[in-house]
Amino acid sequence: MDAFEQLGSWVVNGVFGVAAGSRASDVAVYFVADVTKIFLLLSVMVFLISIVRTFITPQKVKKWLGGRKEGVGNVLAALLGVPTPFCSCSAVPLFIGFVEAGVPLGVTFSFLISAPLVNEVAAVLLLGLFGWKVAALYIGSGLVIAVLAGVLIGRLNLESEVEEFVRKVRSKKQDEKSTAWQGRLDFAKAETVDILKRVGPYILFGVGIGALIHGLAPVGFLSDIAGRDNPLAVPVAVLIGVPLYSNAAGTIPIVQALMAKGMALGTALAFMMSVTALSLPEMIILRKVLKPKLLALFIVILAVSFVAVGLLFNALPLGLG
């Protein structure tokens, strides 16, 4: 029993007097332990990343990536996507800014894939709920997908599939004000509160569902349908994930509970990636700058990559699930 579970059982069994060992107690202890752990880890991590963010503004990223070649550019873009703040509502101005700065299309896509897929919130949840091995696998394969999918889109010469108005935009030069340390810390504080407020409800919801699954679903009830021996489970998980609108915060706790009930690791990874990186609202927003053909290709390439990751990790004898 770790410190968080001890806290959970102290609150549930001690303060609220729920009899230990009952199902209700199981569910509640799990909920309290996970929620405390996640919020604690998240506060620290988001604060640190937010300080890093004050050094990596989109304006700088744009400059660093402008005119980069395939390969180096894609790797750099995928890595810069990790700490860069990303909200799907900013996808369009970001895309236009990149194109205008001469960032190649494939490199832009590496960034657009990595930014929502691999971020500090996902990393914290994976680390806290699954341990570092699964966290590393998720982040590693997320980055590889961002690089490869970007290279592929770059090679297909689809520049004509970007809406015309994007190329006509000429922006005013924006001077970057240098920020003092006090400003960076203030920003990080505000950002931490903001992000916790935003993902908080998702976490409570996700852990709540996860706790119910943990306490009520029979052990191994998913082994047959979502275990590693069912090759269809991975594509189905990805398909289910596409229209689901959630983020890493809400999805990962649920997936963790599902894995404990027999869902295979690869299937779980593929599902998480599909939910976080392919969402309907983001696609609708991207449609403003991408013509249907390029948008469709983007979705298909990502979906196929997630299925490939899922099948790969289900086939490997990793002994983590």
């Binding site: 304006q59 744009k62 909200c87 900013s90 800014g97 935009v169 922006s171 950002e191 903001d194």
Partner: protein, 75 residues
């Protein structure tokens, strides 16, 4: 004074609009507040994160919703 709220209509853009309106009425200054929702126009400001707050052509904040007090200081 001209205040522009840049953003494609996300929840935070509406929040920023409301905060700006409150800041203006609290400070008693005269200002017109307009929403800029067209993406090519937003991008032409050099803004890459929405919502952004522009006062008389100067980008005051981007990618976040400043508090009413912060906006009052910017006015």
């Amino acid at each position: 004074m001209k205040i522009e709220i840049l953003g494609g209509g996300c929840a935070n853009c509406t929040k920023l609009y409301e905060s700006a309106r409150k800041a203006v009425s609290d400070s008693g200054k005269k200002a017109t507040i307009v929403k800029v929702t067209d993406y090519s126009e937003i991008a032409s400001y050099g803004v890459m994160r929405t919502p952004a707050l522009v006062i008389d052509g100067d980008i005051k904040s981007e990618g976040r919703v400043p508090t009413v007090d912060e906006i009052k200081k910017m006015l």
